[in-house]
Symmetry: C2
Subunit: 527 residues, 2 copies
Amino acid sequence: MSELRKNVAGRPAPTEANGKIQVPYCGFRKNEFGDLVSAHKPEGRRAAPRIRSCADYPLRGDKRVSDLRTALEKCGLKDGMTISTHHHFRNGDLVANAIFDAAADLGVKNLLWFPSASFPCHQNQLKHLESGVIHHIEGSMNGPLGDYCSRGKMRGLGVLRSHGGRYQAVQDGEVPIDIAVIASPTADPFGNANGVTGDSACGLLGFALADSQYAERVVVVTDNLVPFPCVPWQIQGNYVDFVVEMEQIGDPSKIISGTTQITKSPDRLLIADYVARFVREAGIMKDGFSFQAGAGGTALAFAIYLKEMMIEEGVKARFIRGGSTKYLVEMLEEGLTDYILDGQTFDLDGVRSMRENTNHVNTSPFTSYNYHGKGNFAGMVDAVVLGATEVDLDFGANVVTHSDGRLLHGIGGWQNCLFSNCTILAIPSFRDRIPVIVDRVTTLCGPGELIDVIVTERGIAINPRRQDLLNSVKGSGLPIRPIEEIKQEVERIVGGAPAQPSLADDPVAIIKWVDGTVIDTVFRVNT
Amino acid sequence: MSELRKNVAGRPAPTEANGKIQVPYCGFRKNEFGDLVSAHKPEGRRAAPRIRSCADYPLRGDKRVSDLRTALEKCGLKDGMTISTHHHFRNGDLVANAIFDAAADLGVKNLLWFPSASFPCHQNQLKHLESGVIHHIEGSMNGPLGDYCSRGKMRGLGVLRSHGGRYQAVQDGEVPIDIAVIASPTADPFGNANGVTGDSACGLLGFALADSQYAERVVVVTDNLVPFPCVPWQIQGNYVDFVVEMEQIGDPSKIISGTTQITKSPDRLLIADYVARFVREAGIMKDGFSFQAGAGGTALAFAIYLKEMMIEEGVKARFIRGGSTKYLVEMLEEGLTDYILDGQTFDLDGVRSMRENTNHVNTSPFTSYNYHGKGNFAGMVDAVVLGATEVDLDFGANVVTHSDGRLLHGIGGWQNCLFSNCTILAIPSFRDRIPVIVDRVTTLCGPGELIDVIVTERGIAINPRRQDLLNSVKGSGLPIRPIEEIKQEVERIVGGAPAQPSLADDPVAIIKWVDGTVIDTVFRVNT
């Protein structure tokens, strides 16, 4: 029987989830190189799928079957299996719904859906959760599915992982995937596939990499079949069992935005300006440096401000980490960076650039984020700019729940990025009159040990652990303030600390740390 | 205790080799798609290296250590371990010798050297074989090391595998690699590496792919260190433990030829002409077709003749498989093929093209040849042109031993390529007055079931199993003759069948088939 115990961060962690033993989050240690690293030591060996033989596949490489249902039958779909999908189509995905509709038709029950993330377009799955076709979801639940989980309606516990944590869980055999279904904007009959061309072009398919490598059965679904070879083969057909053609696998207008939008809010623009100035004043912005920022309005504005400063000072980056947008592509094409190392493309310029620029490089959760590899790219990034729903006085932060306790967001690459040499949270000091800096975040997703700087429109708080950063910006004129002071000021404005969420005692989801340990638990919301 | 038993091809196969149980070659079956496939059914799961953690690697990605010896020590090198290397530097490799010199300095014994192939430049290893630093070699032994093995001097049995068979053996855990050392023309401190740039540029590093993925420890050695990221990362740093800089890792003049040479022999040119005409007359040369030919003089001449015919008839290939040369690159750049799918570059034009042309695509033994994957590329090639040292009346062929029994060549991708839709051996009918067509080949490397056509300067023999090919060239004017007739004619000319080699009863090496079974045994040569 599972019980809740406190982990070293003082957060409750169940000893078991969905029938699997859980290891509580262990905090940090210093390694032989002087780096702050996970204190958890993994044991055992990587997952090992069954050995296959070419003898069981068509010699001339044509793996097409008539439809998704047939593919699932040939994969041996049965009760209790795990089916995985990727989220490169974001809110425009048409495949994940079709899979579970087909599974329902086949009368199969108690499936574990293991998406790299789910979106509002997947609310179709609510009926399969209700009927028991889907037992539970492990993966980000953005919007309605998160709300459903928050209300305690899901049969199993939600398990949220970062992009890197998902790779780690598959690689380490924590989540054995029975059937991976990979929606592919372009594919050939052998199963080679990519995201750079076709009506549903999404740039790349990195979130499906682990699935292709480790799932027992792999189905590629496409609406743009080309003769062998499909080049580039971001997904290698040598891992693929069946290929299915569908009329339409995604809604292009929801997969990729035509253009990404910079914030117009004066407060957010001020935050972006502070972040860019901080990166310059702290001495991070120098020849050969690197940074990562998301595709949110504030992050885009930051990138534009930083770009201006780079031009002014004649500084060139070695690499910029995507999610890519028009603005990053411009920096590459104008020679302000040698490379974009990209994990997902957010707009049409990102997709085009990945197709055309050899220095716009396709990365994956394996290269970038997997904590159970021999290093990853995240620690090599000089500065990363991220968001958060809440942050506490210890610099610990939340990205998955709102202050009312509802689970409405996924982790994405957020946890993985915290290993950057300078992690900056760019956040408004309050939202809808609710302060963002709190005594204790509703859900701990990122430990304060790894979060270096909080930038709000009311000032910049530097983690006292980073005396080097405090020293570097002395005399810069930037509004450096203790985090407590910003918190107090906001509470004065909005009339006090936010109300505690009304939560029941029963867990509805767990939050994994990058190493597979449980960093926090999400509880049912009283409604 | 090992004993020799006859496999289904009537060839002796030991029940055990180097302490490991061996499965005898099982022949063929028809699969559900009507294809002739291996009758051997593999069991079990893929090899599973230990799970690693970023916690044990430098967070900022600098994995450099001072020298190869230090790297080997840090890898925990000890007696009896397996060290692997690749052969992309061919006869210009300087790294493999340095590894075993360092191992000798460290006083380590009984190592298994597991190269993807060895060359005359590696005769330095003879002293380590003599002293016991190296226990035995598994991998192709071209020249002096093969001769050493043939004379029964190696402590263990040689094990020869095709490129695909080597990937299969690593993937399936038959050969657990303790330490892979990957000589890399360009690399970054994180261990990302490629072969397209640098003084030792060799094009690609595909032969080291399995080693990087499955070895417990991986060392990248380079003489061209670049700042992170090394793009493209043909070898992913996330698999790499240590990076070593060396003054020089290869001799460029021996890694890559400046230009590849077409044969000038009238007989060989005639063979090339017959092969090209056969490919055209059999209806293989049509829009969207594919072919593979090596870099030998006859194969190059064939490619040039075929190119002329393609231009004449306005035919374009979908893809050409490399080993790439200037001649294939010209076909790509002149629009005669959509793609080159390349496993190794043989000349400077091949290297340049792989660097510059996005449609000159890097492949690996995994994508192209691994028989224990979900299909591979070999079966999708319409025609392949190969060589052989001997061929028998059943169309079985030998590529590793000479008619005197000496083991002087590796298998390369030869066995893997036999799965092409039309396998053509282009061979002179005799060499040094020794007939090439024999009653029974000295060593069986490729079963006659997969060999479709023998082209000699005295005529073309089509395997009677391929009635479709016999029909397709009827009335073509090509000199189609029964294989027996060509054999008799040659024996009349040279004065009879070749003498049987003088061999002892003790095995010195085994030949693996693509599925890991033992297809034949090589015996000690009496000297």
